[in-house]
């Protein structure tokens, strides 16, 4: 496709590719070079012409790399003879411009330099692109003979080869710098990076090379090379004074060949006015969490025509190399930090009084600490390579606990248990085991680490306490049985025959015997729950009938308090609970509610069913609970109405028991109240699924 320009010279078919090839030569706007000037001098002499040029045809202009007899640096492409030449491989000769309709009206013909004769041979790169010409010009008409044409063609060939070799030497220089950087002999990463910066600064002819770390709007110089008295490693600047934003936005190499609005916009200064960044090359560095930049800059503008592709490529490659070097360095630092931490941790593990045992993936012991050998009585080499369970468990070890542990291990899950183990000498001891799966760096299961704490003493005290509770309760209940039986009988059989006063004494004794029974019962309950020995039989329970029964149980008590009980219809919700304990909880809440409610009022029970749980409410119309007492309500032996002597006093354990029972059944209990407006106690229990009993 040929496009006709203003003077009629069509663009070459490969114009785009041609311009790219010209760019890559990095020769436009460079200083004169003797290696080209010698050709134009020889051409002018050989052809005996006043003007000889090496021209390069750019997109909009032709630029003269070398010129004899002409003061112009460049001309408009539209006025150019050479743009006609580059359309073919052949020499173009115009013997007399005034005779040629293409050039008759050309400004360079009608005005200075008054061209009458023109002969140009294309400069052809190895890729076939014709980027310019070697041309000779005279101010009078003439004609080249065959030999002269051959000379012109040969000389153009030589100029072309010079172009190619010039470009190659640029690449070579870049490559050699890079290879020197990569082959840096410095072993330490920091020294290698500094050496690389120095080499790159030399190559780029820029005095400043900086590797920086940017974090929280702070730009910290990690490593630099700079003229003495300017920058130092560790200097910190606000990142807004730097060009890091631009570089990151650019994502690859950002190049600012000379100061302009962008640099001035940033103050044009780097480092609190110490250094002017007139020309700049920067590339982002990202290694894991480390964000930074590699940049080179100079207080001088980059000489025309700006940075070469090679320079950009060098900075890009060096950025990649620096990322690699940083990565290795950071990794190295992390490894060292890890090692320090590991050393500390292993000291802790070795020296702690707790037993620490590590098993492999197969469950066999691979490591134990001194604490473990002391607790178990076995030496490390007796334990390593064996399974902990086999060696340490014995007759009294709880089989259910062992089974739970076995399942947790099979599922590779963490667990906490208390277990009775056996010392090498045969004595049992209790340990609390906290065991966690171990994973390697890639998250693969590697085994378990268990920390064992000797809790024998605590267990011994617990057992003593339980035994004490058991014995005391038995010893208390037996006489209580006959006291109550005797009193009840007396009251029942002779009560009506006694006078008012004697009857009162007897009733008092009966009431207090009942109170004592409840106290013993509550204490036992709490003791059992606290020691985890309360066996709960959790099954789906139909809520409404159970509430109904609990209310029937308390009907008489409520009547005694002058209170009526009301159950709001509650549907057929079924909860997961121990029926007996649930009834106990409801009973406690009901008797509390009756006790505190005003005579003539009512206690209301209702149920709200949510998707996962049921909430049971018990509302009274008593004095309510002040907010500041909230924290004490569920504590043991707390009676907020200690002054109330009107009614039978409770044991102060009822709500504490409710709390323990509800929690043991997987629920929660709480209350809402405002003084003077009564309270609503409520507790949640999980709903039973569809698959019933």
């Amino acid at each position: 496709m040929s496009v006709i320009n203003q003077t009629g010279a069509a663009l070459p078919d490969d114009e785009e590719q041609r311009l790219l090839a010209l760019q890559q030569c990095h020769i436009l706007d460079t200083a004169p070079e003797e290696s080209f000037d010698c050709f134009t001098r020889v051409a002018a002499a050989v052809f005996d012409v006043p003007v000889a040029l090496v021209t390069l045809v750019d997109a909009e202009r032709q630029w003269f790399k070398s010129r004899q007899g002409l003061d112009l640096l460049e001309t408009d492409r539209s006025a150019s003879f050479c743009s006609h030449v580059i359309r073919s491989h052949e020499i173009m000769e115009v013997p007399d411009t005034l005779e040629d309709p293409r050039f008759r009206d050309n400004a360079m013909v009608t005005g200075p330099p008054h061209i009458r004769f023109y002969a140009g041979a294309p400069l052809v790169l190895e890729c076939g692109s014709r980027i310019g010409t070697l041309c000779v010009i005279d101010r009078q008409p003439r004609r080249l003979d065959a030999q002269q044409r051959d000379i012109l063609r040969d000389m153009a060939g030589a100029v072309s080869r010079q172009m190619i070799s010039r470009r190659a030497s640029l690449h070579e220089q870049t490559l050699s710098t890079l290879s020197r950087i990569m082959a840096s002999s410095a072993r330490k990463p920091r020294a290698a990076l500094r050496e690389a910066l120095t080499l790159a600064c030399e190559y780029l002819d820029m005095p400043f090379g900086v590797l920086s770390h940017v974090h929280d709007s702070q730009y910290t110089i990690h490593l630099q090379v700079s003229p003495p008295g300017t920058l130092q490693d560790g200097d910190v600047f606000p990142s807004e004074n730097t060009l890091c934003e631009e570089v990151w936005r650019c994502g690859s190499v950002a190049a600012i060949p000379r100061g302009g609005d962008r640099v001035l916009h940033h103050g044009g200064w780097h480092g609190g006015g110490k250094v002017r960044m007139e020309s700049y090359l920067g590339v982002p560095i990202k290694v894991g969490q480390y964000h930074g930049m590699l940049c080179f800059f100079s207080p001088e503008p980059c000489p025309p025509p700006g940075f070469s592709d090679s320079a950009l490529r060098l900075v890009e490659l060096m950025g990649q190399w620096a990322e690699g070097a940083m990565e290795r360095w950071l990794l190295n630092r992390r490894v060292k930090a890890n090692q320090r931490q590991l050393t500390r941790l292993s000291q802790v593990a070795r020296q702690t009084v707790n037993g620490v045992v590590i098993t492999g993936e197969d469950g066999y012991i691979s490591w134990v600490n001194e604490g473990f050998t002391r607790i178990s009585g076995y030496a490390a080499d007796e334990l390593i390579g064996r399974k902990p369970g086999r060696m340490l468990q014995g007759e009294l070890t709880d089989r259910e606990t062992v089974e739970r542990i076995r399942q947790a291990i099979a599922r590779r899950e963490p667990f906490e248990e208390e277990l009775r183990n056996y010392h090498r000498n045969g004595c049992p001891y209790w340990v609390h085991i906290s065991c966690n799966p171990l994973q390697d760096a890639d998250g693969r299961f590697e085994g378990f680490m268990a920390i064992q704490t000797d809790v024998t003493e605590r267990k011994r005290l617990e057992e003593m306490k339980n035994e004490f509770i058991s014995v005391v309760s038995h010893e208390l209940r037996t006489p209580l049985t006959s006291i109550r039986g005797g009193l009840d009988l007396l009251l029942h059989r002779t009560g009506s025959k006694l006078d008012e006063r004697d009857r009162k004494w007897l009733e008092m004794a009966v009431r207090n015997a009942g109170q004592l029974s409840r106290l013993v019962e509550d204490l036992l309950n709490l003791g059992r729950i606290a020691s985890g020995r309360l066996a709960l039989d959790i099954v789906p329970v139909a809520l409404c009938p159970l509430l109904r029964e609990a209310m029937d149980d308390h009907e008489a008590y409520a009547r005694g308090c002058g209170v009526s009980l009301q159950l709001t219809p509650c549907g057929d919700a079924r909860v997961l609970a121990d029926a007996m304990r649930l009834r106990q909880v409801v009973g406690n809440l009901l008797s509390n509610a009756c006790k505190f409610s005003a005579r003539g009022s009512s206690v209301t029970v209702w149920v709200d069913v949510a998707p996962q749980q049921a909430r049971i409410h018990v509302r009274d119309s008593g004095p309510g609970i002040a907010e500041e007492d909230r924290g004490r309500v569920f504590q043991r032996f707390v009676q907020l109405d200690a002054s109330d002597t009107r009614r039978q006093r409770g044991t102060g354990l009822g709500l504490a028991i409710c709390l323990e029972l509800v929690q043991n059944m997987g629920g929660s209990i709480d209350f809402e109240s405002r003084p003077g407006e009564g309270c609503v106690f409520h507790f949640d229990l999980p709903l039973a699924g569809e698959e019933g009993e």
């Binding site: 038995h474 209940r477 039986g485 009840d488 036992l524």
Partner: protein
């Protein structure tokens, strides 16, 4: 008198035994009172009660051992048994329950309610048979 319900009752605590016996007899039960398990085993050979009522913790022969021996008399092989206890050990209570006891009454209990409780138990076991 022949349609009075008969209870074989063993309890080592004299006070409780007296109260319980009195309450039951007052309600029309016939009570064969034993001071411990050994005496119950001796008495068991001569009677065929409607119900056996045993304290769990007694010297020499505890409730369970006593029951084991009583069961060897063909006439007592299927008699419903009720235990009474002041013990709290859930494990032990489970053990007693699994021995075939129809009820375990925890001390202290309401003595006046005992006759009704026992009648209800008997009614229930009869219906089952």
């Amino acid at each position: 008198m022949s349609d009075a319900l008969c209870v074989l009752y063993a309890e080592d605590d004299t006070d409780i035994r007296e109260v319980v016996s009195f309450v039951l007899e007052d309600d029309g039960f016939q009570v064969i009172e034993c001071r411990d398990g050994r005496e119950a085993v001796l008495q068991g050979g001569h009677c065929s009660p409607d119900l056996i009522l045993l304290d769990m913790m007694m010297p020499e022969l505890d409730g369970l051992m006593t029951l084991e021996r009583l069961r060897q008399y063909p006439s007592l092989a299927r008699t419903p048994v009720v235990f009474m206890t002041a013990k709290v050990d859930e494990g032990e209570i489970r053990r007693y329950r699994s021995s075939g006891a129809v009820e375990i009454i925890r001390k202290p209990f309401d003595a006046l309610d005992l006759p009704a409780t026992l009648r209800a138990i008997l009614e229930k076991t009869r219906r089952k048979q």
